[in-house]
Amino acid sequence: MSQLGKISYRELVLNGIFKENTIFKLALSLCPSIAVTNNVRNGVLMGAAVLFVQVMVNITISLMRNLIHPRIRLPIFMLVISGWVTVTDMSMAAFAPAAYKQMGLYIQLIVAFASILARAEMFASKNTFVPSMFDGIGMGAGFLLALTVISFFRELLGKGSLWGYQIINAKPLLILVLPAGGFFAVGLLMGLFNWISMKYEGRQ
């Protein structure tokens, strides 16, 4: 733990989930958060894919950090990221072909996620293996959480179902499964998340 001082692993994970939540706090990677979240299954799969890539990239970079010359670090990061994204992409195509058909493009787009590159640059390249892993888990879990929450509301209110199973026999707000509704859902949930965290921080 070179730079961190006394921050515990628990705090590292919580930091990624709440304080620096990729979608709700940093407002990064909003494209997939709108494009794939019209049902819970896709949202969770996408979140899990990002979690996996984030953790693996952080681990790889932290192990390689002393070998990378600072001048060419960004191309190297990109290579590592695209390597892990390719692994995810291919495994998903093999094990979940139905879901892959719907969201394959967005899996490949994980390469361009600002949050993943940012964590590689800001954290993994300066820290050792274990904290980097926990940081990856935190950031990835934050993303997974955000996507799950968004897709939960969008699928439940837009289609009346969850994970493909019909829960209520109606489509209360059809607009939520459409792209326009995605913006509504992300915006409102972002507001709610920040409101809650403001209250929480105020109480501390």
Partner: protein, 338 residues
């Protein structure tokens, strides 16, 4: 607004203080919609009145609750929420279930207006966003058109298609057939004896309201005229079925929500450009998009989406058509950016 005595015109700042207040304008616009409300209620019965009342009440209430919750100055009765609710109500089909105007008003007032900072800061016309939200969310409920109660022509069912719907699906010959003959079609459209949203059907009532607004100088001719002119021109050129220049502009002018949209929604101060030449561009854009949707799009009516799309461009138009600063020297092209 115009200050009548001095002859000053609306423009970007600097402004001159006037006795007119926002409230007064809002209530006057609401008043000018009264004929349309009366005709709507006359044709579609008490149900239409309840829809409008539900819409107004929920708009004012959600504004009140939001401002209270945000601990802001409660200005829920300044008439702007009332007007938003009224416009939303007039843009709904007569027999929608009551949760529809409530949801629409909440979206209009809270999401479209208050979350963007309140009156004067919203990018889009609140009532239209409310309606767009409803149309996309509840496509079936939002397209049930009641037949006007007062002895509509020989249609047996209680629900009917709007003239624009018939025009789009079956063509102008069928439309004339439904209404008897061409003269009857025009006169029925003029008084509003047709299927449609509560407030959009009666062209006559809307024109009375618009005349009042023009007379009071609350709106100017720029946006409505450019809007209606573009629509009639495109309708005349491309609207006909027998080739170019055979379309019927009057038919397109008197159907759908065009009159309501052109005079009461597109002229919204907040969401339309305030420079006159920009307003003409704005109106032309609205007209073009309306006809594009009507003739080529999936929906029979495009006024709502046209106005909303042009709303996005208002700030840009205002910037592009900014009036010249008095006494300013024209700078060379290099320094123009500042």
């Amino acid at each position: 607004m115009k200050s009548e005595k001095s002859g000053l015109i609306v423009s970007v700042s600097p402004h001159i203080k006037d006795t007119e207040t926002t409230e007064r304008i809002m209530w006057s616009v609401s008043l000018s919609l009264l004929p349309a409300v009366l005709m709507g209620v006359y044709f579609f019965g008490p149900r239409a009145a309840f829809t409008i009342i539900a819409s107004i009440l929920s708009a004012v209430l959600s504004e009140y609750i939001f401002l209270k919750a945000m601990k802001k100055k409660v200005v829920a009765l300044d008439g702007s929420a009332f007007l938003t609710g009224l416009l939303l109500g007039l843009n709904l089909p007569p027999s929608v279930p009551f949760f529809i105007p409530v949801i629409g008003a909440i979206v209009a007032v809270i999401i479209t207006k208050q979350l963007f900072g309140g009156l004067g800061y919203n990018i889009f016309n609140p009532a239209l966003i409310g309606r767009a939200f409803l149309l996309v969310s509840f496509p079936r409920l939002m397209t049930v058109w009641n037949e006007p109660a007062a002895a509509f022509i020989h249609l047996d069912a209680r629900t009917t298609a709007t003239p624009l719907g018939i025009l789009k699906e079956e063509g102008v010959i069928k439309l004339i057939e439904v209404f008897g003959d061409k003269g009857n079609l025009y006169s029925q459209l003029l008084i509003g004896h047709r299927g449609g949203c509560i407030g959009e059907t009666s062209i006559l009532a809307l024109l009375i309201g618009a005349t009042f607004l023009m007379y009071k100088k609350y709106i100017t001719w720029h946006i409505p005229l450019a809007f209606l002119g573009t629509v009639s021109l495109i309708a005349w050129i491309f609207g006909g079925q027998e080739g170019l220049f055979t379309g019927d502009p009057l038919l397109h002018l008197m159907t759908g929500g065009l009159m309501l949209g052109a005079f009461f929604m597109a002229t919204d101060y907040v969401t339309s450009p305030s420079v006159k030449s920009g307003q003409i561009l704005f109106g032309t854009g609205c007209g073009f998009l309306t006809m594009l949707i009507r003739l080529k799009g999936g929906y029979p009516e495009g006024v709502m989406f046209a106005i909303l799309i042009m709303n996005c461009f208002s700030p840009l138009i205002d910037r592009g058509f900014r009036s010249k600063v008095f006494g300013a020297v024209k700078k060379p092209a290099k320094g123009a950016k500042q």
